[in-house]
């Protein structure tokens, strides 16, 4: 690797460490707060350094890629590999940028073997990058997955020329590209068909003889694993006997050996139990009992893959079973167990040390946010996600708390001048004007501020934003946090009223710009509050030198980006002074709150 590449890697690792609030130790709050501010400043400096490293070195290297030496290309590949090692994925965006550039280069040179390799690399990069889009349904997500599938399809298409391609490593990329088409497709039947075909190929002596050096047995095992991941077809149906048999066979190959060991890996054991349930070999009570035992037997502080599976994924799957079987929802013992399991799940997630924040860990976070089943008797979605925000995205929490505080001030000012301003919102309209309504307006406004960037928690963009500026494609993904946040908030009773604020806070008042298109301002009864969130989010994040400048910038965009009904409040000098005071406090009360929660939980070093 070149020195700038090593340097960038070091910086990324340092940012990851500094970004963990709870990784900073100090004897008392004052010194802890001081260290936090220092860490914040250091992260900002490292970010600038990273931007300069990329702009001054990587981009020119890609610019001159046609003239690059083999050694330079090898260094780029090594750099890309170090940034995405399939476990921590320090910077998937740069990995993709490099391999996408190499793909263009080799296409231009018509270097077929390298095109095949780069198609596989780009496909894998897209797959890992796309994990941040998990649970988000939008045209942009579909387009992303489509591209991913087509990249692997193109790579896999070279199978017909397997005999004609001399290089065995290239043949390996063809096989893996072909197999990975299955992981991109959302169509179960297609996934099964692809895996079935690949299973035939990797067991075919003809192909094996053409590339004897390839790890065929590893390919076989991985393909069985991919096939077994389609076990949902067992309960959903819709496939023929051959396909079902193929899925069952792979489940047997992958999961059965685990069920026979003394210390089974839950990640493989549970799917086996699940398969037995789906096939009707065991009944629901047995399945629930098995699941309860697996959850209870695993210590909460087991953070490896098996531990996270037992402590996080199984409670979520338990919740799914309760959700899908309404009869269970009336049985107190199951709800009580679900509550216990969720609490244990949260304990695992909140105590996991920062070096355990792997790609798999974030996959689990995403699963919790997307699939948590909210029901009376368990902790509310609002509470558990607030805790996750504090633990995993401390900066986001602080920023969102500041937004909440600004929202409260602005909403109060609006209420003073027009108590009926938010009366399109049903639960506010029914309240008589007075102190109770004023408080309700301010409370609601504050929570809208706190949850407006909710979608960012599971998209795991915080670290990337701290590391460097986003690329164009990443920016388009980032914009999906509005849809992601909306969909997850809207699906739960405790958070549904904040969903519109999450969806619409980047839209423009006059509709001429902003995102997403899914937000239709006039159709939302919460639009006045969302208009206010849009203003506050801008004030909070625009990076102006002072609060007064930020306010001036907001006023300059009234009628276009911002509602004139909202910007009118800034004529109130008292409010301007209050906003200035919020910024001047540098979030100290919020840090204090986090510190004391930390001290109380015993997590502080």
């Amino acid at each position: 690797m070149h020195p700038y590449q090593e340097h960038y890697l070091e910086n990324v690792r340092e940012i990851a460490a500094l970004g963990d609030f709870y990784g900073i130790s100090a004897p008392d709050y004052e010194s802890w707060y001081e260290k936090q501010l220092q860490a914040k400043a250091r992260i900002a400096a490292l970010r600038e350094e990273n931007i300069a490293l990329l702009s001054g070195n990587l981009f020119p290297a890609l610019d001159g890629l046609h003239a690059a030496s083999e050694a330079d290309i090898a260094a780029l590949e090594e750099f890309a590999g170090a940034l995405m090692d399939w476990t921590t994925n320090l910077d998937c965006g740069i990995y993709l940028l490099i391999h996408d550039s190499l793909l263009s280069l080799y296409r231009f040179r018509r270097d077929r073997c390298r095109v095949i390799k780069e198609l596989y690399m780009v496909g894998m990069g897209l797959y890992y990058q796309g994990r941040s889009l998990q649970g988000i349904e939008s045209d942009a997500t579909k387009a992303f997955r489509f591209r991913n599938e087509m990249v692997f399809t193109e790579g896999g298409s070279y199978l017909k020329f397997f005999a004609e391609i001399a290089d065995e490593q290239t043949k390996g990329y063809i096989i893996r590209s072909l197999a990975n088409i299955a992981i991109c497709s959302s169509d179960l039947a297609r996934r099964v068909a692809i895996s079935k075909r690949v299973l035939q190929i990797v067991q075919d002596d003809y192909y094996r003889s053409l590339a004897p050096s390839l790890p065929w047995d590893t390919f076989l095992r991985r393909t069985h694993q991919q096939m077994s991941s389609n076990r949902a077809v067992l309960s959903k149906g819709g496939l023929g006997a051959d396909e079902l048999a193929a899925v069952l066979e792979s489940c047997e190959v992958v999961f059965k050996p685990e069920s026979d060991t003394r210390t089974p890996n839950v990640r493989w054991l549970w799917p086996y139990y699940e398969m037995e349930y789906s096939c009707g070999f065991v009944d629901l009570p047995t399945t629930l009992a098995r699941m309860e035992r697996l959850i209870e037997d695993c210590p909460y502080d087991s953070y490896d893959v098996s531990g996270l599976y037992a402590n996080v994924q199984l409670p979520i799957y338990y919740g799914r079973l309760v959700r899908d079987n309404p009869a269970l929802q009336t049985k107190r013992e199951h709800i009580r167990f679900l509550d216990r399991a969720y609490r244990k799940m949260m304990r695992t997630l909140l105590t996991c040390p920062a070096d355990g924040f792997t790609d798999f860990f974030f996959y689990n976070i995403c699963l919790v946010i997307t699939d948590f089943f909210e029901i009376d008797g368990v902790e509310s979605y609002r509470d558990i996600t607030t805790k996750l925000m504090k633990r995993l995205t401390g900066n986001l929490y602080i920023r969102s708390r500041r937004a909440g505080e600004l929202m409260r001030l602005c909403a109060a000012a609006i209420y003073r001048s027009d108590p009926a301003f938010f009366d399109d919102i049903d639960f506010l309209r029914v309240l008589p004007n007075g102190a109770e309504k004023e408080k309700a307006v301010a409370d609601y406004a504050e929570q809208c501020g706190l949850y407006h960037d909710f979608g960012l928690i599971k998209m795991n963009f915080e670290r990337l934003c701290q590391t460097r500026e986003l690329f164009e494609g990443e920016m388009r993904m980032y914009e999906l946090h509005t849809i992601s946040g909306h969909d997850d908030l809207a699906a739960r009773r405790s958070t549904a009223i904040y969903a519109d604020a999450a969806l619409g806070h980047h839209s423009w008042y006059n509709g001429a710009d902003g995102y997403p298109k899914a937000y239709v301002r006039n159709a939302s009864p919460m639009r006045q509050m969302t208009d206010l969130v849009a203003v506050v989010a801008y004030l909070n994040d625009c990076g102006a030198a002072s609060a007064r400048e930020a306010i001036a910038s907001v006023i300059a965009q009234e009628h276009s980006r911002f509602s004139p009904l909202i910007t009118a409040i800034f004529s109130d000098e008292t409010l301007q002074a209050e906003i200035e005071a919020v910024f001047a406090r540098q979030d100290e009360p919020c840090y204090r709150e986090l510190y004391h929660e930390l001290a109380g939980s015993g997590q502080k070093n």
Binding site: L62, L65, F108, D139, A143, S157, Y158, E469, A523
Partner: protein, 538 residues
Amino acid sequence: MEESTLALKQQNEELRRENESLRLRLTEAQNANLAKESFLSNMSHDIRTPMNAIVGMTALAKKHIDEKGRVSDALDKIEIASSHLLSLINDVLDMSRINSGRMTVAEELFSLGDLLHETLTIVRPQAEQRQHAFRFDAEDIFAESLYGDALRLRQIYVNIINNAVKYTPEHGEIAVSVSQEESDGRCVLVFTCRDNGVGMSKDFLQRIFDPFERVSSSTLSGVEGTGLGMSIVKKLIDAMGGTIAIESAPGHGTEVIIRTPLRFESVRLNTGPLEGRRILIIEADEAMQELYRRYLGEAGLLFTIVPSSSAAVSAITEADFRGEGFSCAVLGRSVGRDGSMFELASYLHKADSTLTLVMVSDLNWGEIEYRANRSGISAFIPIPFFRKSLINGLAHALQSVESSDAVSAVPDLTGRRILLAEDNDINREIACEILSVTKAAVDCAANGREAVDLFLGSAVGGYDLILMDIQMPVMDGYAAVAQIRAAAREDAGSVPIFAMTANAFAEDIARARACGMNGHIAKPIDVNLLMQTLRQAL
């Protein structure tokens, strides 16, 4: 005496005839007056109704001007009422033209495929809105180029289908078919529209062509219309020398058959540009596949049909490996109405620069053209298509690519001049090589300063496009563009400038736009992306 008697008799006869004539004229005048009164009565109601909505809603919107939701709702209602009023006025004007003998029926060459595509594009949204099962079939089409008044035929067909849509309760079935018969050297175009809607009584059928007649039904409410449509339809068909037959019964739906004799031109297939070329058809619908097989197979053309996007990518990769690439890929109707068609087009366009992409769709081309072109789609063939419209459409697409008189993979930029600012020798050489196929003249600058000097030293309009590297010695791309845009010359603000850079940050791209560049091309240069940019910009 006899003479006098005869004269008196003659006078009497004359007086009788005159009286008869006067009585007739009186009846006519009375009828005309009645018709006028009836017309005015009907019209005053039909005009007042939408006008009430327009006036009332405008007042309401003004009253609540700060409430966007209410204003928007009022505007929606005003839009609907205005559109209804406009169609009423159009119908009245048509009736007036017809009655005064000022209506002429044109006899111009038109494409049957285009006529039907336009008709279906207009009616399909309403049918979908009412959740009708809408089916269209075309059989025995031997004449695709016809002489007649396509505009009026469309008006007739839209009117008939719209009636079927309106007078059929939701989730109904509407089947439209078109066929042709040859008679006396002419093509009789037979249009049939069948529905399972409310139907009409015999009594009503006798009055259906009278102005202002509308079916009243207890199962349908709020059906809008002027009541002039069928009257106009009948008169237009009469003017074309055609016939209209209607069969209907209450509760049993309606079938309308319109026969219009038209002159036609024999099919001239332009297979030349397609001979020896391989065409890839991406279409999952078996009925559509059969049409392609029939039309392309009978013309002896080389084609492969694949059912999905992934099969298309595989087929193209395989063909490329064998050196037997496809010349043209047809993205069929079944390829993602949800937008994945454009994703596929982009992908294919990036993977194979020589591939001409043709979209076959029942969508409205006007609404999707921009996005389609941006995805690399060069041509559009509307559904329904027939032998000639398919083959000649494909031939035209390939010819256009070769003659570069339309959207094509490699644009012909003969006579155009491009300024290329690039400090890296190899990149400059590669860019020049890529641009050479466009036949554009290319002037090169090794840094931003040289680029500015070349631009300022050229005649106004001397450069049609500038490709600007960003990171360059002496003067970078941002500064160079700022100087070019600030120059005091006519073309300073209008000459298209594109950044060519590996700088991938979203802010870099935003900065390029902010300093006056029209777009951004990532490095290393993707040939197809560059061609696409040139095509769109020039």
